[in-house]
Amino acid sequence: MRLPCPICGPRDSREFIYRGTALDRPAPDAGTEAWEEYLHLRDNPAGPIREFWYHHAGCTAWIEVTRNTATHEISDAVLAGGEGAA
């Protein structure tokens, strides 16, 4: 598998470390349910999913990849830090 790092370009998956579904961290006072969901509850789609990968052997950027779990097609990969993180 190859992942298109927005900084380094397409690279072999062995350069990356997987984290899991890309979610926004709740505010400290968001309540138990929001935190429970953030920590433990995951969709399991047969289709596109957004997930965090770390380019540990490359630029060390955290990236957000849109991957189709059924086909492994990767339709998008952007910096998890948003635009302008160079």
């Binding site: 598998m1 190859r2 072999d12 984290r19 953030y38 060390t60 955290w62």
Partner: protein, 969 residues
């Protein structure tokens, strides 16, 4: 035997080899199979289950029968296909699956018992008694049914792996592949052309036909040579592309002749586009006793004649359902080999002036035990026999669609071709061309290859050159279906697994009607050839047995690898020293010189203890080293701890966010202990962090978690706290850092640095000059004694270590290793990953109050969950033995006195233990339910695996110097 004036081998040179000890000769250009046939060796192996004599069936990589062991001793390689082994001087080959010899094999009695050994036999016969399966049945079956055996020794042969990249990967150098590579190569694309054979041309290597007015094989060779000369084309012979993976990644196994470095290279090829030109595999026809040595595919008989100048028999019979097989008879007659007849199942088969064609004929039986002697065929006129020692059969050709299935696509049945072809878009970026795409005539293959390359070039945004298609034969021939000749007896489908037509029918009858079920029930399509020869025919038989059409019946899934890849090749680059990087501290050489046994800590190598003369047990060394630190001074290399440099206006805020405690309030020149949580509220790591400047901190992590913490900080700053302007970088490697601990540590350092350290309180830090070099000094302690850590740039590490040790030894101290370091920290109740094992919270560790109320931090919200701060949780305590048994064991569990030893009575567990030379008995750290409330209670420590029970008293985890006066001294 060899035929005059045929073949493209070098007959002037000879190559000697042995088969089962007998010496034979072949020529450069031979495969083992062609050389064996040339020497009239017909029987080369015994079949998997029935131990039937088997010969060479094919001339290519789909060979199911002729599996042999190549080489001797540790280097022996089992299950090599004789058709793929390139003949080399001194090659030593042995046959397999026979005992005591190939000619006389005791287990061939299995063949007599065949009616008891049908499909599902294992499942039905060896059901019970259940306990017999592992001990009796399975070992017996494995001995009886099997292929070659591993040597059981370490294989000294080297293998390598590698990475290749290209615009276009062309898989197969037959007419379609060569043409595709030529078009793409001339367009200037970056091309890899991979072919599994050692001579280019694919099927053309064995045919008599013309391309561009020259013999087809010559055209293939010159085209290959032309491609090889292009700087943008990498031609790889002896290279099998074994699998298609995500995003244009392919696996490819390249084999190398002896004496050219490692035996094999397993390549990962990243290709922007690919052309699959894998050709087609000729299939057999099922009829009674169709497995005797001497029965071969028609294309193989032709290839042995045309490419290797070998006649596969003295009187050859052809049996086919298609026109293509008639070429075999044509070529044989032209070479002067006698053709007994062409038996064609079709009533409208073409006639020839050169050989007899018997229309509407089907072979219904054969005779000859170790080699074919005669065949019986049936026509409308009845049954007749022919004396023949070679039967060339062809049931048509199966496109080699395997790679198109590797990403879950299923091939599509074409009734007009009687074949499965790749589904459109089966593998993103892969374009099938030529015979694997159902295009059989040579001219059409050339055109299809060119067209595939043009499609790829267009998709790559490149311009296609004008390339003329060479003239070639345009006839694809006709075919009518014939899968199995009806009749009694055993008609073999899968030669490698001894699966017959009857087995498949029986599976269907017993309701294993799905292909996947049939396959597993009969074992059809398993083992090294993965059903390359038999899948489609077996499917057709299953379709017939279940009254369905072939497309309805489906197809089995082809998975990688296309042909066998040794584990050694797949794991190349990961053996021995290459298994994992070795990280050595700057003190490594000095440490090894002192005879310290090393222990791996992550990738690092650390000394366990330093044996002294006269010591016979590690404990003696360990106790002595502990006493250095408690009584004088000890020196230890602690460079393996992770060190992270954190700078920027947001540095303090980042630390406040990742640590439970406040670091923005830490004064410059001071150090603070920090606890890091995961977002779920459990402890991730701990360490000390020093403030070097207003916007400059130095964090330390445990050795084991250094990489994880770096990643965690990157996540925090890149994703969670984008508002912060802060830079982090590992400086673990930059600094060699040594702990200097003990009551005489200040004396040692003052002497070393030539300056007073009176003004350095506990938990202070700052720059120092070490022999003129800029270093850093931290007054921190992991031993409970007055302790320091001194750091210098790593190039000076070895030198500083030597100096520190010399000074320590001069004042009754010395170096200490991991064992002593562990004892010292357990005596003080300090933590390592034995305690921070991922399921403990700050509360459990008695550090609940370290979670600052003044700010948010990672893990804070969830650490406050009621379940994580409940007093019933197992919490950190110390244990000391109070009964007769004085031993403590880490991993042991804790029970109330008198309680039954059972999981529901489990009260906790022990994480770290040691003998404390300071206290004179064993001590342990443990997690105990409501532990802090139970000080002074007695508890039973039970280790059921070592059968040890120890009565303990629950005590504070800080065994020594509880008020910490020694560290501050």
């Amino acid at each position: 035997m060899r035929v005059k004036d045929r073949g493209r081998i070098d007959r002037e040179s000879r190559i000697a080899f042995t088969f089962d000890g007998a010496r034979y000769e072949g020529h450069p250009g031979d495969t083992l199979a062609s050389a064996l046939l040339a020497n009239d060796v017909r029987m080369v192996g015994r079949s998997f289950k029935y131990h039937r004599p088997r010969g060479i069936l094919t001339a290519g990589s789909a060979e199911p029968n002729a599996l042999v062991t190549v080489g001797r001793g540790a280097e022996a390689s089992p299950n090599e296909r004789a058709t793929m082994v390139e003949l080399a001087e001194g090659l030593a080959v042995t046959s397999q699956n026979r005992w005591p010899s190939l000619g006389f094999d005791v287990l061939s009695v299995n063949d007599m018992a065949a009616r008891f050994l049908g499909s599902g036999f294992y499942y039905k016969t060896f059901m019970w008694p259940r306990s017999f399966w592992e001990k009796v049945y399975e070992p017996a079956i494995r001995r009886a049914a099997g292929l070659g055996a591993l040597s059981g020794q370490h294989d000294p042969a080297d293998t390598e792996k590698g990475f290749l990249f290209c615009d276009l990967l062309v898989i197969g150098a037959g007419p379609a592949g060569l043409m595709a590579a030529l078009v793409a190569g001339e367009a200037g694309a970056d091309v890899i052309l991979a072919d599994e054979g050692f001579a280019p041309g694919g099927q053309l290597t064995g045919e008599v036909e013309d391309i561009a007015g020259q013999p087809a094989h010559a055209w293939a060779e010159s085209t290959w040579a032309k491609l090889n000369a292009m700087p943008n084309v990498r031609c790889m012979s002896r290279t099998t592309v074994t699998g298609a993976y995500d995003q244009g990644t392919f696996g490819a196994l390249e084999r190398f002749p002896e004496g050219r470095g490692p035996r094999e290279c397993f390549w990962r090829i990243a290709a922007k586009r690919s052309v699959l030109a894998a050709g087609a595999l000729e299939r057999a026809i099922a009829f009674r006793n169709n497995d005797r040595p001497g029965i071969m595919t028609a294309g193989a008989v032709r290839a042995y004649l045309n490419r290797w100048g070998v006649s596969s028999g003295r009187a050859v019979t052809v049996f086919a359902n298609n026109d293509d097989a008639h070429r075999t008879a044509r070529d044989l007659v032209a070479a002067g080999v006698s053709v007994a007849a062409v038996l064609d199942s079709r009533h409208d088969a073409p006639k020839s002036p050169d050989f007899e064609v018997i229309r509407g004929a089907q072979v219904c039986n054969t005779a000859g035990r170790k080699r074919l002697e005669s065949v019986t065929y049936r026509t409308s006129k009845g049954e007749q026999s022919l004396m023949t020692d070679c039967l060339a059969i062809s049931g048509g050709w199966n496109p080699a669609v395997h790679l198109t299935c590797h990403m879950n696509s299923r091939p599509v049945w074409r009734d007009d071709l009687l074949a499965f072809v790749p589904a459109p878009g089966a593998v993103p970026g892969l374009i099938p061309a030529g015979a694997c795409n159902g295009v059989f005539a040579t001219a059409a293959c050339l055109a299809d290859g060119a067209s595939a390359a043009k499609t790829a070039l267009r998709e790559l945004g490149m311009t296609s050159p004008d390339v003329d298609l060479p003239d070639a034969g345009a006839d694809a021939g006709r075919i009518s279906p014939l899968w199995a000749v009806p009749g009694k007896g055993r008609s073999w489908l899968d030669f490698q697994n001894d699966v017959t037509v009857k087995d498949v029918k029986q599976a269907a009858q017993e309701n294993f009607q799905s292909v996947e079920h049939m396959k597993r029930y009969t074992t059809q399509g398993m083992a090294t050839d993965q059903g390359k020869m038999s899948n489609v025919t077996a499917l057709a038989v299953l379709a017939d047995a279940t009254g369905r059409a072939i497309p309805e019946t489906g197809t089995t899934t082809f998975r990688p690898p296309f042909s066998p890849v040794s584990i050694a090749a797949m794991g190349a680059g990961g053996r021995g020293q290459s298994f994992a990087p070795q990280r050595f501290m700057t003190s490594h050489a000095a440490t090894v010189e002192r005879g310290a046994p090393m222990i791996e800590a992550g990738l690092w190598y650390r000394p366990t203890y330093f044996p002294a003369p006269g010591e016979t047990h590690w404990r003696q060394a360990c106790d002595r080293e502990v006493r250095y630190v408690r009584n004088a001074v000890g020196v230890a290399d602690v460079s393996t701890l992770g060190k992270i440099d954190i700078q920027g206006p947001g540095a303090a805020a980042l630390l406040d966010f990742v640590y439970t405690g406040l670091f923005s309030s830490l004064k410059e020149g001071r150090v603070r202990y920090g606890l890091m949580l995961r977002e779920d509220g459990h402890v991730m790591d701990d360490g000390t962090t020093a403030r070097l400047g207003e916007n400059h901190y130095l964090m330390t992590t445990t050795t084991a978690a250094a990489g994880e913490v770096m990643r965690h900080l990157d996540f925090a700053k890149q994703v969670l706290r984008r508002d912060l302007d802060v830079a982090t970088i590992s400086v673990t490697e930059q600094w060699a850092q040594f702990a200097v601990a003990g009551p005489k540590s200040r004396d040692l350092l003052e002497d070393l640095l030539g300056t007073s350290l009176g003004g350095w309180p506990f938990m202070s830090c700052g720059p120092v000059k070490v022999g003129g070099v800029d270093g850093r000094l931290f007054r921190i302690s992991f031993s409970g004694e007055q302790g320091w850590e001194i750091a210098v740039p790593a190039r000076f590490g070895a030198s500083l270590f030597d100096a520190l040790v010399a000074k320590a030894e001069a004042i009754d101290g010395g170096m200490y290793g991991m064992e002593a370091l562990n004892v010292l920290r357990i005596e003080k109740g300090f933590l390592t990953h034995a305690e921070l094992h991922g399921r403990t919270t700050a509360f459990d560790l008695g550090m609940g109050r370290m979670i600052s109320a003044k700010k948010d931090c990672i893990g804070k919200v969830m650490a406050a969950r009621p379940g994580l701060v409940a007093n019933s949780r197992a919490q950190l305590v110390g244990l000391k033995p109070v009964g007769e048994v004085q031993q403590l064991v880490s991993g042991a569990h804790l029970f109330r006195e008198g309680a039954r030893i059972s999981p529901e009575n489990d009260q906790g567990y022990v994480t770290s233990v040691c003998y404390s030379p300071t206290l004179g008995h064993m001590i342990g750290l443990a997690f105990l339910e409501r532990g802090p409330d139970r000080m002074g209670d007695r508890i039973r420590m039970v280790d059921r695996t070592k059968d040890i029970e120890t009565l303990c008293e629950v005590v504070s985890p800080v065994f020594f110097d509880p008020d910490g006066g020694r560290a501050r001294a």
